[in-house]
Symmetry: D2
């Protein structure tokens, strides 16, 4: 029975508390929040959980096996480090940290103390994304050429972070997950319209050493709500539309093949194929539930979680490079910089 | 009655011939094409039109008032120059030329000889685009923040030009038309998968001096056919989906307004508004028909057409900068370079 | 403060309990269910509510002002009568009763004892339906010609009632609400495929004395999930699609007008008009919440609720006639029968 | 080489003329139309075709092998009879005739003279309908339970026939084609809003002796343009949406199976299955082209066409019964009447 304390239980943290409280192998033993009102509300829902205003106090007195950190991003590094030093396993929301050197430090620390650190890259636990992973890994799509993602909506407009750090971690984590590689350069163009210095919309391009490419479009200032991804492979193409209630994934038996034995007539040297479209049935289970279960299994088994600290570091490196490119007006930024 | 000769009547040129032949103020008197088969086919459809294999011969003997050039892009500069020197008005398909210095030379020449030059920026004559122009100019959308366009499909894969030069002229011409300005820098990322050195997919970003931004996504290697544009303004937002049979334009009474009198609570400092959506009725008339009529009216009135040589030059300058950025791996390229 | 007891808290009744417990002017003081497990589960959620296995016991000892009946349809008549005789206001789920004579008896009884009876015709409290009511009443659509509804899905397959009694009460209540009239005849055709004598799909047609018409299509054996209504008026048309997350209502400025001054050429005697389409913003508040609030207000004010016992009777009369038509193989059945 | 004359070349007949003129095994040798303007227009397009004002004259002097009849429906019986008596094969547009006894008479006559008669049931030649036929015949859907069709739009409003006779022949012919059977009863409800006695909207229900059912919804007074069909089978379900540019057919691996070994708990006795959705690639060839080719092949081979006179008779019998039901206010009408 894993004894868990949740820090930051006002917003998204509520969902973490709800799920951990519901899992049979976990026990929600403590909740920590700066707001008395939030503490009181959680106290009513979880009468057996101890309430803390101070994170250090929870670590000290809480008799915890693990902490789930849903406090604001700037606190992630500090709280994760303290928790590890206190001997607790850590589940921390995305983005892992706001600086890659800090993320790298936490990777080392986690290895040294031999504890589990898992980052809340929710989409890596989404049944539809796992289906895309299956399609790419088993060769159904053939070699991947490129993919692009769109995560736009009107709201929620953040004040502490821009649309890139708020929305793109989901897309970046899925791209690295599906490609199984890190990009070599990131170019990002964006604009701030509502608040000075806080980009509302960002278009970013990731280039990979083997020629693959990924494009990300994030915005909280858009008339449509869209959550979609398109993968283009040599043999087939696929799309994921998370706004569709049930038909989220489509596999297009479409492609263009090049006939390499030099034709006189170029027109004949490329063959387009438009075949059936398959909409595979995808489980409608809640990704967050699966994510919380995965954390508990990882702690119990001692094997690294899918979205471990190294994964968190990789994502932060891309976000950081993207921010540098944004600040430089779209200059491609190398990750080896 | 404007006497017109069409050069390049195999592909798209057929549509030009058909439209000019049908207009009451125009007469299709000559058709020029290198292919005997194409000449014969057009001869059957337009028995009164003289047939030429050689463009110079048509200019010399054709007794024409104007020529419509639908030959491959590399020939546009040469044919336009020759036609102007021969005293003919010119309708030339997009892209106007493949180099901006050549386009600039043609602008000068057209002025010197006092003849009409019109570039086939078809979308500037699309009823839906004219509705978008009306919405932006009359202030319905408020100050424009940014727009983005998507022009993707599986095929037609070109061999002489990449997806950028083949598809983006439409998007660039509409962006300049709606913004009423030229960008200061262009960044473009793309990849060649099917043919070496010929980009199949390109993502480009245009930055304007006043802070506005436009993004273009073109591809001929995509599972979906999409032809859409989204405009985000301070007061309202709008979208144009050319795949919709009738409901092409949507005006969203949506926006985010910032309350400037510094709030303690930032949450209150931004107000999101989600109101009605209006789908204005847009004429379903054929854009090409309107375009051909506009050419004839422009010649007759002597007033410059909407998509005149200067417009053609502006678009080529953006395409050229985009190609330089593509070649430089996404480096932002200044148009004043 | 209205003291309410809920009977039948296993299925839909849970939602009634949740809403009444949350309303500030109501108090959930008792829960009655035959299942001990259901009682225990509700006991945990509502520790202050008394638990009863027997409805009579709850009426006797419960010190209630009102009861909310979510027990199976066959019990509605009996429980409503007993509650009224015990001096309690009644909220009862649809269908009001399974026989119109029983419904009529309850209307009389409610009048005699001067208590509030409200039937759970949920859609009469749906913001989108209220928008349709506004559009019809204020003349935006002109005279209503006809409407049709579609309520299909795969599942939930019932065993005690067919798709007509399970799904159609929603459509019938909305039709009577919008038309402000009762039909004179009902024709219904259906088939039983899964269970003998229990129709899985029903198509019903309602004819009104003034020439208006309504069609209903219900099924729990269909590949698509659809919840939609279309209204055709003399001046405009409207649709309601409850599967749309936000754009539920569309008002089409479309119509066909007949020019009455007898034309020689009939073609000219009918003018089709296709104008703008408007998607009005509709509140996304929960209909059930509004319904529960309306019940409390009605009890407190003493004014009859929108879906009172008379409304319940009208709906049952149509359902009953529809069932007779189903049993007679589609024979139109008169409501005055 | 089949020598064909087309009668009624003003409206839809133009498409017949265009197709027959283009087919290599046919020759368009004559065109007959009452309107001099229509004759002149066709004369320009088909200089080699003889022009007639009078049908009898064309039959007499035309040296034809076959006639294609696209004149108004009331003329179909007379013209078909005359053509057969004159020894010509006949292609006649739907509806075959306006009375079933006349259709039966033509079936007999065609047999007697041994000539081909084909009725223009266009959808029986639509690639998507042929795919549905394949799915039903090869058992992919299992036993068919029921199907329904929707053919609605704003316009074209007819004056000589109602929406039932104008639109439903397509649906009826497909239903009989897919079911391979004739219904035993037809119930139809409709209303006339624009013109007295001419129904603008009709809902019809067809009952088959083996328990299968089909529903038809036709209207020319509707805000949406819809052309769709849904088939529900024991094993799978399918839909056909002709408004979709490419994804016209969907096969749903969905169904409800009943477990017959009497359960105590009814809930367990029905199993719902929701699996993959398949969108098979369907040829985008023009149905009318295939239809015209089929006529020529049938004449040349002497084998009866898919939509022969008997098929035409079957469809007219259903339309006739439907009209009787309309006139009787929805009374189910038996086809054996």
């Amino acid at each position: 029975m894993l004894r868990i304390g949740v820090v930051g239980a006002g917003g998204w943290g509520r969902n973490l508390a709800r799920n951990f409280a519901a899992l049979k192998d976990a026990e929600l033993v403590a909740i920590c929040d700066l707001s008395e009102e939030v503490r009181r509300a959680n106290g009513r829902m979880y009468p057996d959980a101890a309430l803390y205003e101070d994170f250090d106090a929870m670590l000290e007195k809480g008799e915890l096996d693990a902490v789930a950190i849903a406090a604001p991003a700037p606190t992630h590094y500090d709280m994760t480090r303290k928790a590890l030093e206190a001997g607790k396993h850590v589940y921390v929301e995305k983005p892992f940290t706001l600086r890659s050197d800090r993320a790298a430090e936490l990777v080392e620390l986690a290895d040294k103390v031999g504890l589990t650190v898992m980052v809340g890259h929710l989409l890596e636990y989404h049944p539809a994304v796992l289906k895309l992973k299956e399609l790419t890994d088993n060769g159904d799509l053939g070699d991947l050429y490129y993919m692009y993602t769109e995560r736009v909506n009107l709201g929620i407009v953040r004040h502490a972070e821009n649309a890139w750090w708020s929305l793109a971690p989901h897309d970046v984590s899925v791209i690295l997950f599906l490609f199984g590689a890190e990009p070599v350069t990131v170019s990002a163009c964006g604009r701030s319209f509502l608040q000075e210095g806080i980009e509302d919309v960002v278009f970013a391009n990731l280039q990979f050493s083997d020629g693959r490419m990924a494009q990300i479009h994030v915005s909280w200032l858009d008339p449509r709500k869209s959550r979609r991804m398109v993968l283009v492979g040599e043999r087939r193409m696929a799309s994921f539309d998370d706004m569709e209630p049930s038909e989220k994934i489509r596999v297009f038996d479409k492609g263009a093949s090049v006939v390499r034995d030099g034709y006189a007539n170029y027109e004949e040297s490329i063959r387009l194929r438009s075949g059936d479209v398959m909409i595979p049935h995808v489980s409608s289970s809640e990704p967050l539930r699966a994510e919380c279960e995965h954390f508990i299994e990882s702690v119990n088994s001692g094997s690294p979680p899918r979205s471990d600290a190294r994964d968190g570091l990789r994502v932060v490196r891309v976000l950081e490079a993207g921010q540098r490119s944004l600040d430089a007006g779209g200059e491609p930024v190398s990750l080896d910089g």
